[in-house]
Symmetry: D2
Subunit: 384 residues, 4 copies
Amino acid sequence: MAGSTFGNIFRCTTWGESHGKAIGVVVDGCPAGLSLEEEKIQIYMDRRKPGQNRFSTQRKESDSIEILSGVFEGKTTGTPISMIVRNEDQHSKDYKDIASYYRPGHADYTFDEKFGFRDYRGGGRSSGRETIGRVAAGAIALEALKELGVQVTAYTSQIGNVKVDRVKVDRHNIMKSPIYMPDLEASQRAMEAIDFARKECDSLGGMVDCVVTGLPAGVGEPVFDKLDARLAQAVMSIGAVKGVSIGAGFTVCSSKGSDNNDEFTGDDPHENKRGMVNYFFDEDGNLISNIKSTNNAGGILGGISDSDPILLSAAFKPTPSISKQQRTISISGKGMDISIQGRHDPVIAPRAVVVVESMVALTLFDLLLTSMTSRMDAVVDFFR
Amino acid sequence: MAGSTFGNIFRCTTWGESHGKAIGVVVDGCPAGLSLEEEKIQIYMDRRKPGQNRFSTQRKESDSIEILSGVFEGKTTGTPISMIVRNEDQHSKDYKDIASYYRPGHADYTFDEKFGFRDYRGGGRSSGRETIGRVAAGAIALEALKELGVQVTAYTSQIGNVKVDRVKVDRHNIMKSPIYMPDLEASQRAMEAIDFARKECDSLGGMVDCVVTGLPAGVGEPVFDKLDARLAQAVMSIGAVKGVSIGAGFTVCSSKGSDNNDEFTGDDPHENKRGMVNYFFDEDGNLISNIKSTNNAGGILGGISDSDPILLSAAFKPTPSISKQQRTISISGKGMDISIQGRHDPVIAPRAVVVVESMVALTLFDLLLTSMTSRMDAVVDFFR
Amino acid sequence: MAGSTFGNIFRCTTWGESHGKAIGVVVDGCPAGLSLEEEKIQIYMDRRKPGQNRFSTQRKESDSIEILSGVFEGKTTGTPISMIVRNEDQHSKDYKDIASYYRPGHADYTFDEKFGFRDYRGGGRSSGRETIGRVAAGAIALEALKELGVQVTAYTSQIGNVKVDRVKVDRHNIMKSPIYMPDLEASQRAMEAIDFARKECDSLGGMVDCVVTGLPAGVGEPVFDKLDARLAQAVMSIGAVKGVSIGAGFTVCSSKGSDNNDEFTGDDPHENKRGMVNYFFDEDGNLISNIKSTNNAGGILGGISDSDPILLSAAFKPTPSISKQQRTISISGKGMDISIQGRHDPVIAPRAVVVVESMVALTLFDLLLTSMTSRMDAVVDFFR
Amino acid sequence: MAGSTFGNIFRCTTWGESHGKAIGVVVDGCPAGLSLEEEKIQIYMDRRKPGQNRFSTQRKESDSIEILSGVFEGKTTGTPISMIVRNEDQHSKDYKDIASYYRPGHADYTFDEKFGFRDYRGGGRSSGRETIGRVAAGAIALEALKELGVQVTAYTSQIGNVKVDRVKVDRHNIMKSPIYMPDLEASQRAMEAIDFARKECDSLGGMVDCVVTGLPAGVGEPVFDKLDARLAQAVMSIGAVKGVSIGAGFTVCSSKGSDNNDEFTGDDPHENKRGMVNYFFDEDGNLISNIKSTNNAGGILGGISDSDPILLSAAFKPTPSISKQQRTISISGKGMDISIQGRHDPVIAPRAVVVVESMVALTLFDLLLTSMTSRMDAVVDFFR
């Protein structure tokens, strides 16, 4: 499997390098008749694009998306949707010297080992710009999911040592924070931490949380294509992610069954749903749930959605490109000191928020379409 | 994608329910000429099988593997290898009442929602017995990897609040601990914790770590089929896993680039490799590395192996079946109290150790075979 | 792709060798709730099984199918359906000498070249018994298609120089002919031709035609997964098939556009449908059609079904195993004369009739399920 | 499976409509280090492009290919190769009226049935221009195969009632014939037949033959991914193809085993190879063979290549767009008479020659790469 294709029914194939002519994606298997125009997709692109504020790289790219096929008179036709973004602000000369050594934390070494050589300009295919195709494809999935009442919302939950207070998280604040951190107090402190790290010629790690509401029960296939398994692949495939968790995540290791099990409460909204202070949490800061008293499961039981919110967290490592001096080796194996110049994000997580939403949406829409064939009676009804 | 198939070139398809006639797997794409016999596979099966000691379910199954095809005169033929285990000790009557309600933390509810009904006997397809097929297939992958010098070793690193001290981990101790915890002091405390939990009619969560040594650089495909992405899917697809991490894992969220980046040290063993106290760690308790001074990356850069040990952790939730009283609903939505009887593991992680090894091996061998086509010069050489 | 799996949503994986312990198949992705029992599948198995009359091999096999998983209380559960047939009448000693040379027209040579050695007993994996798994899986697809009003009917249309007269074809006669040739006059002559060939220690080629009625319009995906393309793969994958055609087939090469184009007639049955003499043909021997005046297209336009009958033909080569003396080489490359003994079909086509039906059904049901996601409005309706 | 992707290891995804902005393809999984430049690919594009002579459509397109990614300093990098052709000469107004009715022999009706509406301009996705992506991808596969000593050569073997005399076929004449018919006498008569058909406002069918030399034995996977099965899918997926055959093709139906079986002759060239008059045929007009006395098998036994030339034929229907008056229905189901204007090929086969080569090459290279993992000893050697 060549590795640039994701999904089975709704599938996207991304292509392009950081400093090549363009970057793009082909989305195949999108149902016909979905309203789609470049403006809609551009909104998502703009959330990802560089140079938005001092917390992201200063590379200037308009990242204007162009739809080349698969849309006719404002609607998808059911045939492949090809989308392209031309690269503009390529300072390839910034990268010439990196052809001669291996940057710590980057894919330089492994690409050379695998392919024999590499397009070293700006990281080539392993650049963060690779996610342009993911976001463009994800935008279509997100729009389709909206039509089905499914909402995917990601946000920054941690940067360095600054974590959001989950009780204070309010989805309405996500876009108010330049770093998409919906606890605005934490957001302020996180921005200060980023400024400090940059001054130190260093970078910071972070965490992105994602909540999905409105997903019907029954999505995900048993065994290897479990909803959580496919989400894990999807999110772990984003560069810089070193961990993925669902629901209570790694805290389950130290918990007891009686604590971790979520009791079923039926679907009477009065009996079950606790009063909501904000979008995702009740007044005690507990995650809301439709059918269970708690949601440690993160909306997935046995790999299949249970209609409660899907809860996912992704750990992002600090940007490996730092101007602080580091020890490494040249491509001929000689030890050397380097200090990486160029225009780099001091932290990856905030710009990755829309990428996480995209990957989650690509997974969900593909498995949602797959779930249409789970029952013979529904199939018979469909063709009647 | 029906969900019961994993892998692209080396692929397995598992089948079977907990209380059906049998459970099995078909492995397709195994290269011809690998030595294989039932005895070899049985060794792995025995590590997984129930009733081994007081820390696992008391269901008695011989779990004897039978090879039905694909092996001729002791060698794989290149055609599908079908393997089967007959179910023997089925106390299906134990499960009759569970047909009428939804067990918290189980897949009962979601299977009903997805498929309209379920084989409720012992959890049906969502039972832990489903992993029999994974282990049988994984055994073949593990044997093939051994021929290539790749060693996959998993162990229990945490149970409840008891964690191994990484400096004290010694791979030679793994099999000395009934719960596969290679820090024997921690193992002792963990077993006490399990005994206590069982007395309380409760269960415990745990963590499994996995280390891969000997994997050459260049394994894993860029973008969606990154080695870590595919490992994440593989391991998250194991029932009860709620989180997967690579290398430094979730600790990267709060780290700085200068700390998290692993410096390249070249491949001079004298300069780079630190003296080893035990298999995985040097005398300071640091993870050993061939080409980097540290291994926060967990042997994967840009989704491609870098020849250093692959490091992976998986979070296992506590067994959801507990005899402690729980609140739930009947299949008609009425609230009720239940106490789950039957023969259940008080903790899942130890029996899952060999399952983690299996899933990691299935992923690695598939991607290793895939990596044979990465370079045109190697392809030309191959056919010369 | 290891090669033993077919289908995307509804997919089957076959396994087993002619003289191994057993032969079987795993069907994954079958919608839950389809009535299924061994007796139903056995009917299809019996049409394929050897030793039915003098026109097939005299190997005696009950070919009893056993369902091992995926069915609970008479209904499919949505999980993998594993089915197995034990081999019984293995005259492996008949095949010992064929280990030492390459039979003309067989896969002996190519298996050795590919895999380094082969399970020579009865052709191993390349035996006609490999189709057992196809028929068992196909039986499920055929039953599911029936629920949807789709009927797949194949028959022998030619053996040696004897062809059916298409005007005389009557589907009610298919089962009245021991060789499934629904023009009973032709059937008689064909049986005589087979008897003659056998006396000459020789074998005959033949053709199988397949007609699908009741398939709704819209099945098949543009470009590479066209309905005809997938049917071609499915049918050409049956051993001994050397050609596949759709509708007017190879006669199109010498036809003109004005002759070959089928005029659309709308869907008024009085205006369009010609009076039917028999199942597939009108009184002039023309193929019936719902929406077109003729059906040279064979029910497929642009790779997508048009609701008219699907028409497919497959060319089967003569059985390569003949007792007539042939020239060949030993595995060490020496020239030699051989005369193949053992129990062989004097003609392949008749026993392949049910195999063609199976492969067509596997293709149709998979693409029919796929077509459920073609339109966004239908998707939205489905989840409302 | 969305249908626009072909291949497993070496895979291409095509996109684009006849009158959209552009048409293109993404090739993923191409080994790194293959020399590649636009000029090389353009040679193949030019063989397909319209307006070359009076035997093809007069639409004027430069069909200039642009490589957007995956190539660095003249060599493939192992990452996706995105290629694009801008549409230029779009007479979309020619097609406005076809929005209102269904053209016989076209996909208008089935696209509407499947997707609810269609991009009617020039046939949209079902236009012959869709093959641009196939040829661009195929060009890469053909170049890679050349490096491995594999030569794929297709030619027109029949147009209307004019067939090449196989003894007179000389591959050196292929490019000398404007319709790629390497028996120049037949070529002359065929061109006259085309001229006559066009005067009659009609079109002609044709056949394309393809010969592959230099393919090593062992390519193709048993059962569903047999080399011939995958070739059948590949070639049948080309618009207008109604039949595909291998080797002796449909003539096997009426042949005897003793005639059809190819005797093995070992690999002594003096004993086996007959003197060659021309590229493909010996002095008696028999197809040449390396290891067999004849090649009715077409170089494939049991779905696996045997090192002899692969022989394949494809039947192309006459161009459905004819200016002769035809009966059809409007999109609202009313009967009507139409005469299709616009710029259409009077015959499809000649322009499809390079498309057949492309599809065959895409299949071969993918399966050739797959075959690298057939034997464990070769895998062990590879990684040693």
